[in-house]
Symmetry: C2
């Protein structure tokens, strides 16, 4: 973090007073036109106010079927300690919360909320951008359609979406797209505006376009421009454009827009307590790779439903068990290893979920700047977390978050 | 309606397929950049999807305190008939629904839902732009602050908001702003982009700004530019900029943004069933004069709370009784009459509510294109309605809606 001066406390968005005042003074304003919603430290405010900067679709809950989460908060978790993976220093859970610029964090143990904290601009009812945690929702929807026999994971994308036949996706299978083993000319470099992700962000309208922009106006126009670069199916490379393709085929198979599919297939059956906001482009297509804004508790519910094999505590199979089994089988470790994720040794990537390695069988939905759902089957634990770390890449905070999750899991196993 | 070719059925937004398809074909797209969200017939889709075109703030409900509306639908209301005010033709309620391009309509009788219909792109859980019905929420908030002794209705606006001291609002009293008896150089001509409302819409970002625009960037920069034109306090003239000033003083008095005030003071105490979306400008200020997007049932709840003097059926005074009394006293008929509202003879305007004249003591929140809350104390009836009429001004559909409301009221009085 070479440019970082402010730490978690000194960059607290409430203390900094972003957008406060009637009117807010010029130096307290955050503007989409300046991309202030996507830059530290102003993003610490904006990540829990994305709908105030961008058009959004509503992912509707079912008000008559809210999944009640029993709560029994415990006070022994803040002191759980662990060694950071990078420099070996000892930290407590409470300290790591701060080091990692945590906006909100909740821990479920055997389905009960045992820890729940909101910081800065967040509250229980504030939605927060989940970034690539969104991908795991979309990957799960795709597995549901496969489990129902409505999608063939071995079908080439050019057959499934004819508009992509001549693109780099054309001869990739759905499975390769889901597991991100496609070989594409698309760089996922968040700090480079000329990268693939930068160009896609312009097409999606997430960030202001340069003057005279004549590029693609929406994601449907962007995806066919992505070219092939190598041989599909050999190794994992994380590229968000795969998830946009996945969102497209999920929506086309269901015959309705992705936000509505997500509402009908996951948000309502899982008894989410709040509607979610989904960033959309000018075509109305949600940003499948990173545009979902749920509340923290609803992220936790999704993790718990995964842990329970799709069956809710109230009974009833909310998500097809075979879909969840297919995900929990994990991905190819051989395909994953060359990608060189130092803190995920022995891990894999399957259907838009990360398998973190280790002996707990833990898997995670992971988004830039610290968004996470972390499911630890051995500890019967689910963690949901929002963050606004100055650095996008998970490698910046994995060393102080993954061992923290593991330590809390071990603590829960040991002390119940 | 000289340019209108399509009627209600042939302009049904679902039939027309706006924004449908993955991707939607070019001729089915609605773009904010083209102001398609504000133009017939595309607005028939957009009015119930405004958050998909513009940044919005969330007006949060209290999930633990939803006001249950008992429901006993009756089938005798569609056939209630009346004479149109303009040409005297006979219409039934069901026919008028169509003539008026109704998107959704609900009738409460003694607090019970006796009629509830959703058409086109609307459902029970879709928010819809309320346009100037928003004003009545803001006017009620201002009356609540007056009732609490926190605002003096006789204070000049220049004292209350120093930034407005040199503007046309400077020597107007709060009461004059609330009752729209200010004399200002601001025209409310919806079809003229050079009008006051057109300039304010640009400042608010509701419509795309012309190339090279250098005007005000938000409502706080716009309002001080409004000049005086005449003598305050003499006659009613409907000008939306008054409500922006009112929203400003309400927010400043409460020390928080208008969307949060509305949530805390009305949305939560009244047990609204859904969050509302509130259009905001680049400063984060909600469009107090017309930017609220609630669901239909929550508009009905507000009308019912007015009818009950602020006391909810469950007990508890949700809104200060004195505030509601002050509104229900009505405004000056002498100040109102010269404005020449042919269909509101004997009416008045008070604290952002319209009094429609006649012997029922009915009053209404009214928004362009057919938005309404209509409270008839004599019939113990409240009507909430969303519309997407091709013409903005209420004068286009008052002749076929006001007598329809009255006829249903008379029917309920007669048959119980």
């Amino acid at each position: 973090m070479p440019d970082q001066i402010l730490d978690c406390d000194s960059s607290d968005p409430v203390t900094m007073g972003w957008m406060e005042g009637l009117p807010p003074p010029p130096d307290k304003r955050i503007r989409w036109a300046d991309a202030g919603h996507m830059r530290f430290p102003t993003h610490r405010h904006a990540y829990s106010r994305m709908r105030e900067f961008l058009p959004t679709a509503r992912v509707g809950r079912d008000p008559a079927a809210v999944w009640n989460l029993p709560t029994a908060l415990r006070d022994d978790l803040d002191d759980v300690s662990f060694q950071a993976l990078d420099d070996g220093r000892s930290l407590t859970w409470a300290q790591a919360r701060n080091v990692n610029f945590t906006d909100a964090v909740l821990i479920l143990h055997r389905g009960t909320v045992v820890y729940e904290r909101y910081f800065g601009a967040t509250r229980r009812d504030t939605t927060h951008i989940a970034f690539s945690v969104t991908k795991s929702f979309v990957g799960t929807l795709a597995e549901m359609l496969i489990a129902e026999g409505r999608l063939d994971p071995q079908a080439p994308m050019g057959d499934l979406i004819p508009e992509l036949a001549d693109s780099g996706f054309g001869d990739a299978t759905l499975r390769q797209v889901m597991d991100m083993t496609t070989a594409l000319d698309f760089s996922e470099e968040y700090t480079d505006p000329a990268s693939g992700i930068g160009a896609m962000s312009n097409a999606l309208g997430l960030t202001p376009r340069p003057p005279g922009y004549t590029g693609p106006d929406d994601v449907f126009a962007f995806l066919p421009t992505v070219r092939k670069n190598g041989v599909h199916g050999q190794r994992f490379t994380y590229r968000t454009c795969n998830t946009e393709v996945l969102g497209w085929i999920v929506a086309r198979t269901e015959g309705e827009r992705l936000d509505r599919v997500l509402s009908r297939r996951i948000w309502q059956p899982l008894g989410m307590e709040q509607d979610a906001d989904f960033l959309i482009d000018t075509s109305g297509m949600p940003f499948a790779g990173g545009g979902l804004n749920p509340v923290l508790r609803d992220m936790a519910r999704f993790g718990e439903a995964m842990r329970l094999g799709g069956m809710l505590p109230s009974g009833g199979q909310a998500i097809h068990a075979a879909a969840i089994e297919a995900i929990r089988a994990g991905g190819s470790k051989d395909a994953f290893a060359p990608a060189g994720y130092a803190w995920l040794a022995g891990g894999s990537y399957r259907s838009q979920w990360w398998f973190v390695g280790g002996n707990h069988g833990a898997y995670s939905a992971r988004g830039i700047h610290g968004q996470a759902i972390y499911v630890d089957p051995a500890a019967e634990m689910v963690i949901a977390r929002f963050g606004s770390h100055p650095v996008a890449a998970n490698s910046a905070f994995d060393p102080t978050s993954l061992p923290a999750y593991k330590a809390v899991a071990d603590h829960l196993i040991l002390y119940g």
